[in-house]
Amino acid sequence: MSATTYTCPYCRIVSDATGTTCPHCGAPTDVRARVTKSGWAEQPPIRDMARIQFNRSTCQISGKYVPVAEMRLDQEDSVYFSHHVLLHSEPSVRLDMMKMAGGWNRMLAGMPLLMMTAAGPGHIAISADHPGETLAVPLPANHAVDVVEHRFLVATGNVGYHWENSGIWFATRNGDDQEYHYPLGQTMDRFSAQGGPGLLLLHAPGNTFIRDLRQGEQILVQPSGLIWKDRSVRMHLHFEYPRGNYWFSSARWQAKSVWLVLQGPGRVAIQSVFEPPEMAGGIVNSSGATTQYW
């Protein structure tokens, strides 16, 4: 940090050094970064009532337990979100539906069918309705990130939204039954800033940790622990089988770990709340994966 500018260690955007929080992502500027010895940086929670600037509007995060994102929308600005996260709105805010392609596929994948847009002027408040942290991910122009399904809270109008198959799956056989598993969900959301910087707000249960992966660097994570990643980060499954013969190493109770391999370059963010994949039976098929027998 120079005498007049400050580079936020979390969103990497330069701002003046006048406030106690980063105006682009809300991270506190007056606390020392907490980085583990292995390189994970703990994302500090956004302070109660901290403000984030976007375009001509502001977003204020209030509450600590189930935080609320209250947005003051300028006449020229808009945001979009899943309709069930709307907590309150001033009558002056223009609410409308956003056209979504692939409704049938989204319904099959358990994704919300409807997105809502809100255009200023006025205030609107969004709540994920679950305990956790609100994450602000400012997107530089033409930058894209991939987000695990159901983590999205709200995005500014100039952020493009697409969803794609996650491409991460495996199948297990248990007797005559074959079951397909999608440890990241069937789809992933892709957000890209178009024509200028944008702002993306996500909700993460538990605590959040981020790290930069170098070119070719790999890390194994619990699949459901991933929150978001840079588009440049590649991923595939990794199956690990422990050494030794146990009663549960039969085909029915095959002992194994299912990991998600993240390979740099790029940033990744994980949450401390996750659910290990459920799987009875042996793995008989999968998307591209590596295997380790110890």
Binding site: K64, Y65, H83, H84, H88, L95, L114, H123
Partner: protein
């Protein structure tokens, strides 16, 4: 020396106090108010104690908080019986008949409220994560509360319930068929509510409106009108989507909670 006014309940406090003697709000912290005027309900410090009549209430725990009441002789509190966590053996209990039995049964409301009489201690917990909201109710004041949101009321409060008018409001309002109404007579009363997640309050001016997610509504002054409004959106050539929001019209206070069951869309 100047006395300190509590920013939450406006009670006057001795200058050496760090929490309000009437509602427990921290006095050494500023009220947190968002840009659009929503005030965050004060997060009560663990073990904060405050008074009502000749009794005291202490709030314990921060994730699933417990209200521990030390009742003086002649004081009492009422509550839904399932919120009782523990009590001293000598604390007498009685029942308050709420009236309207069949209607309350249809509305999913308890028939009978329990009353605990002093002297002695009793502890109440809503058995859910969130925060306790302490609302001292001034004399001759009325407040309406979402059903099942109230934790306890003191003996100086009169309890009744009001039917939510209009079929649309009942079916799509997300607040059920009835709201609890608490009215004070000549003496100040104390109402403890449980809000899921974080709780925010806004004071609406005469005629001022705000749209609220129906599941997020927690309480309002009875002077605030609540109507369910339908928002209809086109979703294609033939389709449309209806969404229902609670329109609050001032004057008066409105309280919302940030964790709720989403209501009102089809």
């Amino acid at each position: 020396m100047d006395r300190i006014e509590c920013q939450w309940c406006k009670a006057q406090n001795e200058p050496e106090r760090t929490s309000c003697s009437t509602c427990g709000a921290p006095l050494d912290k500023k009220n947190l108010v968002s840009d659009s005027g929503w005030t965050e309900a004060p997060r009560l410090r663990d073990m904060t104690e405050f008074r009502f009549s000749n009794s005291t209430c202490q709030i314990e725990g921060e994730i699933v908080p417990v209200a521990e009441l030390a009742l003086a002789q002649g004081d009492s509190v009422f509550f839904e019986h399932h919120v009782m966590l523990w009590k001293e053996p000598g604390v007498p209990l009685s029942a308050m008949n709420t009236g309207g039995g069949a209607r309350r049964m249809i509305g999913g409301m308890p028939h009978i409220l329990s009353i605990a009489h002093g002297p002695g201690r009793i502890a109440l917990s809503k058995d859910a994560t969130g925060e306790v909201v302490v609302l001292p109710i001034h004399p001759s004041h009325e407040i309406d509360v979402r059903e099942h949101a109230f934790l306890a009321g003191t003996h100086s409060l009169n309890y009744s319930f009001v039917r939510i008018k209009g079929l649309v409001n009942v079916l799509h309002g997300g607040s059920g068929m009835y709201m609890d109404r608490f009215v004070t007579g000549g003496e100040q009363g104390l109402l403890l509510l449980h809000g899921y997640g974080n709780v925010f309050q806004k004071t609406l001016q005469q005629g001022e409106k705000i749209l609220v997610e129906p599941g997020g509504f927690l309480y309002k002054d009875s002077s605030v009108q609540m109507n369910t409004v339908q928002q209809s959106f086109k979703t294609g050539m033939m389709g449309h989507h209806n969404m229902y929001l609670a329109e609050m019209v001032g004057p008066g206070r409105v309280g919302v909670q940030s964790m709720y069951v989403h209501h009102g869309s089809e």
